[in-house]
Amino acid sequence: MADPTLLNVEELSVRFPSDRGPVEVVHGISFAMGAEKLGLVGESGSGKSMTARALIGLVAKPGRVTADRLMLDGEDLTALSPRQWKHWRGSRIGLVLQDPKFALDPVMSIGRQVEEPLKLHTAAKKAERRERALAMLEAVGLPDPLRAYHSYPHQLSGGMGQRVMLAATLIAEPRLLIADEPTSALDRDLRDQVLDLMLKLVDEREMGLILISHDLDQVARFCDRALVMYRGDIVDRLPASELANSEHPYTKTLWACRPSPATFGTLLPTLDRVSLGAGA
């Protein structure tokens, strides 16, 4: 395994107040990772996106994040002030979201959005920013970077929008990329293309990647290790290539419930939530 000290998380919890007292949506999880590809899988509501938000300091009020330890690249994230977070986000940790339609600013040109992290985090002058943005747009595989630079989000397809988001995230060269369901808004044929590209760029830059997905097959094909979350806990940890052979009943069902031509005429396995609840 690569150097395990890029990210070190101990006892991370996320709580929200409610009428019936605080609700804990992430229950004291711990994990460490190096410059590797880590898959975070689970159903909606399992806490995987909330974990990602906690790592990048974006849990909205009144949510509260606590952790015994939250270290990125040797620096303590728990002690960051909102102002310091502003500097860390983007320059050290980048986040790619599910749907470029909502994540890109509709009234800002693509070029300005890709350059923005350079403006915030570096001293690069205008001409240099433009040059780097164009190079980045080319690196994410846009056929005509200059045209993309001058266009607006609504003029791009979903796949192109996702490439632009990747360009805007990677341009400030963060150490850790968090991708939250980066391909679920895309047509199936585009998914592997966008992931291949993301992995290639992550490898070239020797970054760490946390890929959040409910698609276990995708994680098995693209990641080194996998953490499986259920109701705010990590219930299973294993090499991603072993997802198909997990002994854990939850992981097993998540893997086996995929439909395929081979399952025609049969009922798919479903989660026995009653017994899972009793075990947790």
Binding site: E43, P259, A262
Partner: protein, 238 residues
């Protein structure tokens, strides 16, 4: 005669005074009792075709017969067709009125069609999709996405349709919840002897559910697959 019989179906939309040809000469026959899949990329016209069959998009040219009855363009469905063709939409969040309780959402098609014993029918319909009768008092926002999709299926089944149109019924759901909904559809199809037309962009869902399928591209049927072809994974190949 086939349950769905469509020949030379054309649909054009006018977009800023430019005519856009959405469906180009679709000819299709779907037999009683089969599950027929429609797949293809976004914008290929598969949802438009489904909306024509549902009677929601009435502006078309060509000829169409459903359940042995001829349907004319620009006319609403009449008589038993209004009950016998039902549709389940992609987004369970958008297809239920947010301010109506589940019981009201389910009673509406019964009242519109003048059926007796609405309360009993609602309770039965809820039981068919695995809910107790107390769910009738809840609002849609108090249910999860998968639960809402089960409500949408219960509502479509209330009128005992012969033809059920499913527009991406599981693409807004988690893989694990998708399995529950697909199982429910398979079980209900066997119990009530329905014919399904299933639109999906996922060849695995089509391969799991369908007896036959068609791949659409740019408003045309580009290829059709029978069960042996689907079993061999033809739907996933490009």
């Amino acid at each position: 005669m086939s349950l769905v019989d469509i020949s030379d179906l054309n649909v054009t939309f006018r977009d800023q005074d430019v005519g856009r040809h959405i469906l180009r000469g679709i000819t299709l026959a779907i037999e009683d009792g089969e599950t027929f899949g429609l797949l293809g990329p976004s914008g290929c016209g598969k949802s438009t075709l489904l909306r024509v069959i549902a009677g929601l998009n009435r502006d078309w040219h060509g000829s169409m017969a459903l359940l042995g009855q001829g349907v004319a363009p620009r006319r609403r469905f009449t008589g038993t067709l209004r009950r016998e063709v039902q549709m389940v939409f992609q987004d369970p969040y958008a297809s239920l009125h947010p301010r109506h309780r589940i019981g009201r959402a389910l009673r509406e098609p019964l009242v519109v069609n003048g059926l007796d014993n609405p309360d009993q029918r609602v309770a039965e319909a809820l039981a068919e999709v695995g809910f107790g009768p107390d769910v009738a008092a809840r609002y849609p926002h108090q249910l999860s996405g998968g639960q809402r999709q089960r409500i949408a299926i219960a509502r479509a089944l209330l009128l005992r349709p012969k033809l059920l149109l499913l527009d991406e019924p599981t693409s807004a759901l988690d893989m694990s919840v998708q399995a529950e909904i697909l199982n429910l559809l398979v079980t209900l199809r066997a119990r009530f002897g329905m014919t399904f037309v299933l639109v999906s962009h996922d060849p695995d869902v089509i391969g799991h559910m369908c007896d036959r399928a068609a791949r659409m591209a740019e408003g045309r049927i580009a290829a059709t697959f029978d069960r042996p072809a689907l079993a061999a994974g033809a739907a996933a190949a490009r």
